[in-house]
Symmetry: C2
Subunit: 409 residues, 2 copies
């Protein structure tokens, strides 16, 4: 059960002019399951991407990077679930290219104008024949108001689809942003087993689009962890069709730039948080806020030590205010000159620890009360600077083990 | 159930001349449980220690470091289980000193000649009155052949006691080494929630003893991980009483030095592996060997990425050869110039992956067969240098979550 997250409502997902989406059941891993998505873009669309930094990155990631780097406009992307096409060597590269060529043939463009994405099991050959056979159905299904099904077609161990739309008024003109994402395990930044697609009808210069993708990602998908594992396939695509009335955004820091970046970041944060809320086996959504640090890097470092700790995460699963485990995680985060007597630890508004130990005012029943909640904030005030970082994670339950022990069966 | 590890046999644990041990039931956390250990040393005994690097180190760790640094000989140590006296601020420091003073009063020495150790729950006040009340019983119980009970008195979530003796003949003279350790969760190097005490009747110079403690620890306790959490209380003590006939070892690299270091390291490795075999919820003991690296640091870095990955560990729990997860962990270990096409992955003797993907010779049934074993070796040959590192870890099971979700209850 996801934590305070419900399935999207189809009618609330707004089409983005210039984007059409088609879905098919290609039988990639299981029969009778939506597992193939094609997104087609109108002429003039620009796309920027942020990809996994895993050295064992998947074949489709390599191919997508190549295609983005060349001069021709990207006209479509294709996503399959059920197989990651990662750890598949030369054959995997060939399979990713074959997939692009098959879709290009149907759409009348070059293979290099297609971006391929895969998610699912690693080190299994991609069933490229089944994908090719499924593509005509996906193309036939294409329409602008298909975001709801698209969000479902990219799910793996996700229990609910993740999709959201936002509209923002800039200089009196409406801009629409719709995003979908998938991911639930193997979630750790740079990036997660995560695929995210955010489209807007705004026109944004190529340089600024890439900048926005990086900035939005740093504040969202790069601030979450479920299990500390970083996937081979992660990708966030930011798509700008330029179909809206608003003139092209070409100046960083302009009012339109700032408004757009804020709205895109908001969509990215919502999707990233949705991934954590639907984290494998999650029963609690935990915000980790580290503030008063010398710089953002050390705040993130401490935040991730807390957010990754299996001992902290199992204590939250048990609703047990065994909060010394948080102090231990702060202590081993690797900040060599950290003064542990100077920091304060809060659970929501409750002061838990100060002066190197339990706060005199802390009462076990206050900790217990907060631990019963499904949304909890851990706040660490370092008192050594003015920087801060916020991360999101979930607890660690029996079901995490169950899901991952039986993933392939 | 520990993995291929049985309870020690009392008769096989050899006394070390110059060391006597006494145990008591002080009721620190539970009634009627051995939870207090005193070890007393004869005059001339030297002690070297390696401690946790956690910034939130426990009060007894700070006090033990202080006492080791001063000139007076250490005459005894005291270990309580059931409470870590960590995250306890000034009161914790005072409680650790009170414990030392109480034992010093009974033994007729200075408080600064006592080393205190605590293990158990963090951020709870140490019940120092109960410890003081228990000490006379522990002192009355002191005898040389008490290692078996001592190993039991320091257990927390351990399911079996860890103790071993070795004898080595050096220049025709017998040297005895006996070690005990505890630890099962919150296990990650630098160091583990781990207490280890290794005593020998050899005479070793102060400088060489500290050197040996560091070297033995680097090859043993600093090569294990259960859950990636580093404790606030870890300590390994190496005790040399000098009661054997062998002349004092004063030269690094001498034959006697090398023979002693090898034997001490063997005992340390056995104890460290025993901790992993008894890792919380462990059903499999996994050796991770990374070889062909440019240096040992990168081999350890890759080894720990594998050994810490919840996805890898849950796959081993399930006996599921979902081995792409190992490649993914290698890929995110942070070696930026790693050539993933050059490496080979083996499970025991079975070649699983090469050339960036599954090996042509690999058959699922071979992987499946190895995964059924309780002792398994993951071997990664990087083919980029001559360095290697070996780590030990265990799988991640329902019981890990269960044990840690209910630890305080």
């Amino acid at each position: 059960m996801p934590v305070n997250l419900t399935s999207p409502v189809a009618a609330q997902l707004l089409p983005v002019a210039g984007v059409s989406l088609g879905i098919a059941k290609a039988g990639i891993k299981r029969a009778d399951r939506k597992d193939l998505l094609v997104m087609q873009f109108s002429e003039g669309t620009r796309i920027a991407g942020v990809f996994t930094r895993n050295r064992f990155c998947a074949a489709p990631v390599i191919v997508a990077r190549e295609h983005l780097a060349q001069a021709d406009e990207i006209r479509a992307l294709v996503v399959n679930t059920g197989n990651a096409n990662a750890g598949t060597g030369e054959q995997g590269m060939s399979d990713a290219r074959t997939t692009c060529a098959a879709l290009a043939g149907l759409l009348g463009c070059k293979a290099s104008q297609i971006l391929p994405f895969s998610t699912g099991v690693i080190m299994e050959p991609l069933p490229v024949a089944r994908i090719a056979a499924g593509l005509p159905g996906a193309v036939a299904d294409m329409r602008a108001d298909n975001w709801f099904d698209a969000a479902h077609a990219i799910m793996t161990t996700d229990t609910v689809a993740k999709a959201i739309s936002r509209q923002v008024l800039i200089d009196g003109m409406t801009i629409t942003i719709t995003g979908i994402a998938k991911g639930s395990g193997m979630i750790h930044p740079n990036m997660a087993t995560m695929l995210g697609y955010i489209a807007t009808d705004a026109a944004i210069s190529r340089t600024l689009l890439q900048q926005m993708a990086g900035l939005a990602c740093d504040r969202s998908f790069n601030c979450i962890t479920v299990d500390g594992d970083t996937s081979t396939n992660d990708a966030l695509m930011l798509i700008a069709t330029g179909k809206a009335a608003l003139p092209e955004v070409t100046t960083a820091g302009s009012k339109a730039y700032s408004a757009l970046l804020a709205a895109i970041t908001e969509v990215a944060i919502w999707l990233a948080q949705a991934i954590v809320r639907d984290g494998e086996g999650a029963t609690k959504f935990i915000t980790v806020r580290v503030e008063g640090g010398r710089n953002e890097a050390e705040c993130k470092q401490i935040g991730y030590a807390i957010a990754r700790s299996p001992l902290v995460k199992t204590a939250f699963f048990a609703s047990d205010p065994n909060l010394g485990r948080i102090l231990a995680a702060v202590g081993y985060a690797g900040i060599d000159d950290l003064d542990v007597d100077a920091l304060k630890l809060y659970l929501d508004e409750v002061l838990v620890a100060e002066n190197g130990g339990r706060a005199a005012s802390y009462r076990e029943e206050d900790g217990q009360r907060i631990m019963q909640q499904s949304d909890i904030t851990i706040r660490v005030a370092l008192n050594r600077g003015a920087s801060a970082a916020t991360l999101w994670t979930c607890d660690f339950s029996y079901d995490y083990v169950k899901i991952n022990a039986s993933y392939r069966s």
